[in-house]
């Protein structure tokens, strides 16, 4: 006979609710037999009260103070029995010192605080539905059910060097009326567009923030047009454990968790991994004048970096800085990522302004930041991509020197800058370009970091789109309502002869060619390529390089471009397919510049207009290289030979081509200067007429395959 467990019985009654001493771990609200275990940390709170609401109710259903004996250390925990899980929301009131001189505490028991560990957050259930600002509890913690049927799904564990990342915004991807999806702008809609992603050939999507945020944070009308400007990109987290409800077609039913998990499962089924762009550097509570949502009312001193005077350090450029190397916060970050990796099967994370995560509680950069080390060695995150945006708004720039612990990859800002300068024809760039094409060994090889450390990108959500990069010399951010003062000025862009749109066919042809040159170079670079959503069809932001606040066509992907710029789409698609077809483009290890398999060719050799003789001079704008197929994946795989000629000079040049081993011929995969056909599907490349050389047009890239 099995006895009924006796540890699941209430021990006391309070205000009509049955209670029992809770378990301090895990933090958050956890379903336990017969009830819910509520547990929350605060170092300085004198008392804590659990506040329960019926879902959507303006007033609490009950407030239950934690009895003194339910506190262990700095943790309040309590089991409440017989709650209607589906229909409750919960929060906390904390009482403690308010003392700006000593300790900088900001306790305010009149505020109801969201649980930092809330797995579902109500209050912004429907995107852009104006909130009731009189509501006393704006962002409401809810309970989650871990009963999703994943079947046999698991994270894909695609080797980093084999990934092609597509950076996208959930809403922007399908919100445009031309998207032809049932529920535009949602997780469900992305599911409908999986065939598109598969045709393009990417095997990894990187989602701009999907942690719950408030699109109304700092919302304001555009002074010129009156249009509402929002916190559209979402780089300002309300709750780290909850998916953005407004991105779910089922958000109004509170079913965003199921909808997002269904999307991830379906993406995985199609061989597409999911990376989340995560923002741990600051929160939506802003500076001293910001709202009290959660952290500042629970334990201001623990969660935030504070100046000696009690103001918020602002290394993020957005008002406050999360105190990531405080052990409590560090554990929260770790708990959060473990939760997303295990419960949502997330394949990797890209850390916004990651250098902040390496600062100590007083803001100084650390040599061995414990948070970065913990993440690198975590058993649950062991197979996840960890990608750093290796700089912050406080002036720390760590591309090439981010504390890696053998695990961290970096958004390679030097790749972006170098390739842009070379693309526009700046002199003195050839040597730098050679490094970027090889996976930036100058930045990483010395530290034993693989080529896949380098996330290669030319464009990302920050800055110009690729079309704008070749159409505008200067940013045009007037629509942001900040007098064009926001957004970077170091764009390294070139408009090809006219600022903005023009009827000049020569300029328009050159712009298209430059876009194709850019993606061709990106896809033959060692490392991990990342494509910005819409670049493959020529998406423009009308010269705006900082569209963080626009819920409109500046950000939305116009799907009619797929027709009007189909040649671009085909070019991207074939370049990605070419990369996927050739392991020699996706090496795990850096080149050694020698022949170590006995093929008669070094793994990589450098050429110019003369074979075997690259012009490294400052005035040179031409570069060519050949990859020996027998050295693919460090000589473990046999591939074709690949030759790439890059002419970023304004005149055409004759390039002498290195000879192949006997029996092999060069074939033309791509020639951006050729018309009408400038690319062929991998495997159908026509043979090159003259095997000893070819004319590479002005500002053009040629890719040959030797087989």
């Amino acid at each position: 006979m099995v006895l009924e467990r006796i540890d699941i019985h209430p021990t006391r009654n309070e205000r009509g609710f049955k209670l029992r001493r809770g378990r301090p771990l895990p933090f958050g609200a956890t379903l336990v037999p017969g009830g819910v275990n509520f547990s929350i940390f605060s170092r300085y709170a004198k008392s804590c009260t659990l506040v329960l609401f019926k879902k959507h109710s303006p007033e609490p259903m009950v407030e239950i103070p934690f009895p003194d004996e339910f506190q262990v250390g700095n943790v309040f925990s309590m089991i409440v029995f017989d709650l209607d899980y589906e229909n409750i929301e919960y929060g906390y009131r904390m009482d403690g010192p308010v003392n700006h001189d000593k300790g900088h505490h900001r306790f305010d028991s009149s505020k109801i605080l969201m649980d930092p560990y809330a797995k579902v957050i109500g209050g912004r259930d429907i995107w852009r539905e104006t909130p009731d600002w009189n509501n006393i509890y704006q962002h409401r913690s809810r309970l989650v059910f871990d009963d999703f049927d994943w079947e046999n799904d698991r994270p894909l564990e695609i080797p980093s060097e084999d990934q092609v990342i597509y950076e996208m915004h959930v809403r922007s991807f399908t919100r445009h009326p031309s998207s032809s999806v049932k529920h535009p702008g949602t997780y469900a809609a992305i599911r409908e567009k999986i065939p598109y992603l598969k045709e393009l050939g990417v095997n990894c999507i990187e989602l701009l923030p999907i942690y719950e945020f408030d699109e109304f944070e700092n919302s304001r009308p555009n002074p010129q047009t009156g249009e509402m400007l929002l916190n559209y990109w979402g780089y300002s987290t309300v709750g780290f454990f909850a998916p953005k409800a407004g991105y779910a077609a089922t958000g109004k039913f509170g079913m965003q968790v199921d909808e997002l998990k269904t999307l991830i499962k379906e993406l995985h089924r199609n061989g597409i991994a999911v990376i989340l762009d995560v923002v741990f550097n600051h929160t939506a509570e802003g500076n001293e004048k910001g709202p009290t949502i959660s952290f500042r009312g629970i334990d201001n001193q623990t969660y935030y970096m504070l100046t000696p005077e009690g103001y918020y350090f602002n290394f993020s450029g957005t008002g406050n800085t999360l105190n990531c190397n405080n052990p409590i916060v560090r554990n929260m970050v770790l708990d959060c990522l473990r939760y997303w990796a295990s419960e949502y099967h997330i394949d990797g994370f890209r850390f916004d302004l990651a250098s902040i995560l390496g600062r100590d509680p007083w803001g100084a950069p650390m040599a061995n930041p414990p948070l970065l080390e913990s993440l690198a060695f975590d058993p649950i995150l062991a197979k996840c991509n960890l990608i750093a945006e290796a700089w912050d708004a406080g002036g720390l720039y760590q591309v090439g020197s981010f504390p890696a612990f053998g695990r961290w990859a970096e958004w390679n800002g030097k790749y972006r800058d170098g390739i842009r300068k070379f693309l526009k024809g700046e002199p003195g760039r050839v040597g730098d370009m050679a490094q970027r094409l090889q996976g930036s060994p100058d930045l990483y090889a010395w530290a034993g970091r693989a080529p896949a450390t380098s996330i290669n990108f030319i464009t990302c959500h920050d800055g110009f789109t690729l079309t704008d990069l070749v159409s505008f010399n200067d940013k045009h951010n007037e629509a942001n309502g900040e007098n064009n003062n926001d957004g970077g000025n170091d764009n390294d862009s070139w408009n090809c002869g006219a600022e903005g749109w023009t009827d000049d066919p020569g300029i328009n042809a050159l712009r298209k060619r430059q876009i194709k040159n850019a993606v061709a170079m990106l896809m033959v670079s060692q490392g991990v390529p990342m494509v910005l959503m819409g670049d493959e069809v020529g998406r423009s932001q009308q010269g705006n390089n900082n569209t963080y606040c626009h819920d409109n066509e500046l950000n939305w992907l116009d799907w009619t471009l797929l027709q009007s710029n189909n040649d671009l789409f085909q070019f991207f698609k074939h370049c990605i397919a070419f990369r996927n077809a050739h392991p020699v483009l996706r090496n795990q290890n850096h080149f050694r510049n020698v022949d170590y398999v006995g093929s008669g060719y070094a793994d990589i050799t450098w050429h110019g207009t003369q074979a075997w003789n690259a012009d490294w001079s400052d005035s040179s704008r031409t570069l060519a290289f050949m990859l020996c197929g027998k050295h693919a994946k460090s000589g473990t795989v046999v591939d074709n030979y690949i030759y790439v000629a890059i002419n970023m000079h304004w005149d055409a040049h004759w390039f002498e081509i290195p000879g192949l081993p006997p029996g092999m011929q060069w074939h033309v995969f791509a020639n951006t200067g050729a018309t009408p056909a400038d690319i062929w599907a991998p495997g159908t490349e026509p043979q090159l007429e003259n095997q000893s050389g070819l004319l590479v047009g002005d500002r053009s890239v040629v890719i040959l395959v030797g087989k």
Partner: protein
């Protein structure tokens, strides 16, 4: 309209006819019927939904429960679900774990 769930069982099939509004307060009734149905170890679970007017997330959770309680070998048929319910099933992906049909032939099912 009040929620109602009626279970009928034949040799290999358990049929639950649902009507009214399936929300958090009525989901336990549905869950009880699923548990009763599972006790008979049927090959098929048929959910007649033509008179079901609304299904909240609590109702969908019972569907997940049914799938997990019955096991992967038991086919779950959702018959004649109304458009709004079908839409929610699709958005959340629950439609993938069940067989959605407009018509259901009991005799045919028994032969499967």
């Amino acid at each position: 309209m009040a929620f109602n769930a009626t279970l009928e069982t034949t040799k290999d099939t358990a049929k639950i006819t649902l009507s009214g509004e399936l929300d958090a307060s009525s989901a336990p009734i549905f869950k009880t019927e699923v548990e009763k149905a599972a006790a008979n170890h049927p090959k098929h679970l048929v959910l007649m939904m033509q008179d079901l007017e609304y299904m909240a997330s609590a109702g969908l959770r019972v569907l997940i429960f049914a799938k997990q309680k019955m096991g992967a070998d038991v086919d779950i048929y959702v018959v004649r679900a109304q458009e709004t319910i079908l839409d929610t099933l699709q958005k959340t992906g629950f439609d993938q774990g069940v067989i959605v049909v407009d018509e259901y032939d009991e005799a045919q099912l028994e032969k499967v």
